[in-house]
């Protein structure tokens, strides 16, 4: 047993897991509000990270201006995707809509490689990178920053859904579109808002990952890890998505520990979440908090 290594990995897992949770949360937000399974979630992260990188590194904008600019851009970007691409698809079969998001992810992925190149780019120093000694553990400040930002976003999201008027409108739309519409909620603007918020939140997560690891197209992998997390938590549960993300993050790192200490298979870190996904589908298909569908005829 290598306890220090294990604890280090668990801390890693918690930090990465909360980020997965944030991305999964924004994925579930779109799914709940608009019934679209978004395969371009990871690319939203990537767009946010690259835009912020371009502002900071290329145009030398200070971080406290560059970050809000990124967020505003992503907000508009999210609305633009919804209005231009997904609104015309309303009423089409659901599988067509999914395939549109798959097409979108291809386009974004390739376009970003085209514009920014394939090489990973280091992110400009935002914080003085230091290690903090916490209960005998060396923890980098960026990790703590990442954890704080993620938790803040989760709390913000919870507040938004529980207390704000728009959050209430969004929950009503998710519950029943027709009833919501008849009560005077503009379903159109709720759809656009869901995409805007999801894109913005994803961008924050993208920038956080970029600050820690640099910007590269590998960031889009976070969009893929969303699926195990969201399935584990239940496809339509925001809280479940957060918990699922944290569990997947921890599990990845535990898999890495087991792999490096005992099994020596290599690459178990990458692939473990997908085994979990299949197992969850077999034994508890609606996840931890998902709603079972009971249909009336």
């Amino acid at each position: 047993m290598n306890t220090a290594f294990l604890i280090q990995l668990l801390v890693n897992g918690l930090v990465v897991g909360t980020l997965y949770g944030v991305v999964a949360m924004s994925f579930v937000l779109i799914y709940k509000a608009t019934q679209v399974v978004n395969f371009a979630q990871g690319e939203l992260l990537l767009v946010g990270a690259w835009v912020c990188w371009a502002l900071l590194a290329k145009y030398q904008v200070p971080f406290w201006i560059g970050m809000p600019m990124t967020l505003v851009f992503m907000f508009v970007f999210g609305i633009a995707i919804q209005v231009l691409i997904l609104r015309p698809m309303i009423g089409e079969p659901i599988i067509s809509v999914i395939m549109v998001t798959i097409g979108l992810s291809t386009v974004f992925q390739a376009a970003l490689k085209w514009m920014f190149g394939v090489n990973p780019q280091p992110f400009p120093r935002v914080f003085e990178s230091q290690s903090v000694n916490l209960l005998g553990l060396q923890i980098q400040t960026v990790y703590i920053m990442s954890l704080v930002v993620s938790v803040a976003m989760m709390i913000g999201m919870a507040w938004f859904f529980r207390a704000s008027k728009y959050g209430l409108a969004m929950r009503a739309t998710a519950f029943n579109q027709q009833v919501a519409q008849s009560l005077g909620i503009s379903v159109k603007s709720v759809f656009a808002m869901a995409w805007a918020i999801s894109a913005t939140v994803s961008a924050v997560a993208g920038v956080v990952v970029a600050v820690v690891n640099g910007v590269s197209s590998g960031l889009a992998a976070y969009g893929i890890k969303v699926f195990p997390a969201a399935i584990l938590g239940g496809l339509d549960s925001v809280g479940g998505a957060v918990l699922g993300g944290i569990i997947i993050g921890l599990l990845e790192n535990i898999a890495q520990y087991v792999d490096s200490q005992y099994l020596h298979w290599g690459n178990l870190y990458e692939i473990a979440p997908f085994y979990v996904l299949i197992i969850v589908l077999m034994i508890k298909p609606y996840g931890l908090f998902g709603t079972h569908d009971i249909e009336r005829i």
Binding site: F39, E92, A110, W114, N267, L277, I278, L281, D293, I297
Partner: protein
């Protein structure tokens, strides 16, 4: 999804047999036979390059046909098709290398093995309604590719596996010209098989599930059974196509069979027309020819203003991916029935020419 068939006025069908016929008229049947005969002559006229493109179209169209059973006829999505394609390729190479089984039998065996592996991933998802299959196949894509890079006994790990050339009853086929006929035979067999499948009860059950799964279930169709069946069929054709590809290339490596390739398979059927068997062939041809035509275009634009603005040569791969993505989106938004629908409209236009309105 498939639009209404454009049947000329006065063509009344009074029996079920007439309604399910493959060729509505004698002329259409004769045209189909003539088309196949013309294709048989293709190796005489085409050089090595175009012949290899034709073979690729043939192989990929079999895989795309499998995917179309799943997406177009059953209304489920798979984004792990490339992994099943690759599994078929490795399996066929492994069988023909390690067992005294000729390649001729190894190919269908590879299809069966792929279908069985597909079931492992498909069964948990097929029990559920909605979009769980697409997520399960996403997992399949990653798990299978990870398996291939790990299992050196099976796929050679990081070293590409070698596959024997196609042989039948001790006679070995060599070169593209001979292999073309093998692919043609397989393409014909699978297309006839699927066309006929769609005329049977099982095929109509799949379409019923796509159109309204609740009504289908009430009418006595076992949803789980048919969803699983269609997924197994999709994997089977992917396996067959992969095996053909393995013995064509005679080397199998997992390079280029990531999730992008799965999306490419989806693009083939979206462009061709989901739920259209002939459309699958058109869509595959479109997707295979697109990179070729883009390369040709970039070669001709070389040195021009557009070349300078986009620096085409270095970025051609990205531009190709962007084009594929945009074409997928454009077809879904503006022509959801794909090229097959366009083709029907062109035919209708000329049928009624010059009074086409």
């Amino acid at each position: 999804m498939a639009g209404p068939a454009l049947i000329p006025a006065g063509d009344f069908r009074t029996t079920y047999a007439a309604d399910t016929t493959i060729f509505p008229t004698k002329t259409s049947r004769n045209f189909a036979i003539a088309g196949v005969l013309l294709l048989c002559l293709a190796p005489q006229f085409f050089g090595g390059y175009w012949l290899s493109i034709l073979i690729q179209i043939g192989i990929f169209s079999i895989a795309a046909l499998g995917l179309n059973i799943l997406v177009g006829f059953t209304g489920q999505i798979s984004i792990g098709h490339a992994a099943f394609f690759l599994l078929g390729a490795f399996t066929s190479a492994y069988i023909s290398n390690n067992a005294p089984i000729p390649v001729f039998f190894a190919i269908p065996l590879a299809g069966i093995v792929t279908a069985l592996v597909g079931l492992v991933f498909g069964i948990p998802a097929a029990r559920l309604k909605g979009l769980y299959l697409v997520i399960a196949t996403l997992a399949a894509q990653y798990i299978l590719l990870d398996f291939f890079s790990r299992a050196e006994w099976f796929s050679g790990g990081s070293v590409p596996a070698s596959a024997e050339p196609f042989s039948i009853f001790g006679y070995t086929l060599r070169g593209d010209k001979q292999y073309f006929y093998v692919v043609l035979a397989y393409v014909l067999a699978s297309y006839i098989l699927v066309t006929n499948l769609m005329r049977t009860r099982d095929g109509r059950a799949l379409v019923a599930i796509r159109d309204h799964y609740l009504s289908a279930e009430i009418m006595g169709i076992n949803l789980t059974k048919y969803r699983t069946l269609s997924f197994a069929l999709a994997a089977f054709f992917a396996g067959i196509a992969g095996a053909l590809y393995a013995h064509y290339q005679q080397v199998v490596s997992q390079e280029g069979f990531g999730i992008e390739r799965s999306i490419l398979f989806l693009a083939m059927i979206i462009i061709g027309g989901t739920g259209s068997i002939m459309g699958t062939l058109m869509g595959t041809a479109f997707v295979v020819l697109l990179p070729e035509s883009m390369e040709w275009l970039s070669l001709h634009l070389k040195g021009g203003a557009i070349d300078h603005a986009l620096s085409l040569n270095t970025n051609i791969t990205f531009l190709r991916e962007i084009a594929i993505g945009l074409i997928i989106i454009a077809f879904l938004m503006f022509e959801p029935d794909g090229l097959a629908h366009r083709w029907r409209q062109i035919k209708a236009y000329w049928k009624l020419y010059p009074f086409s309105h």
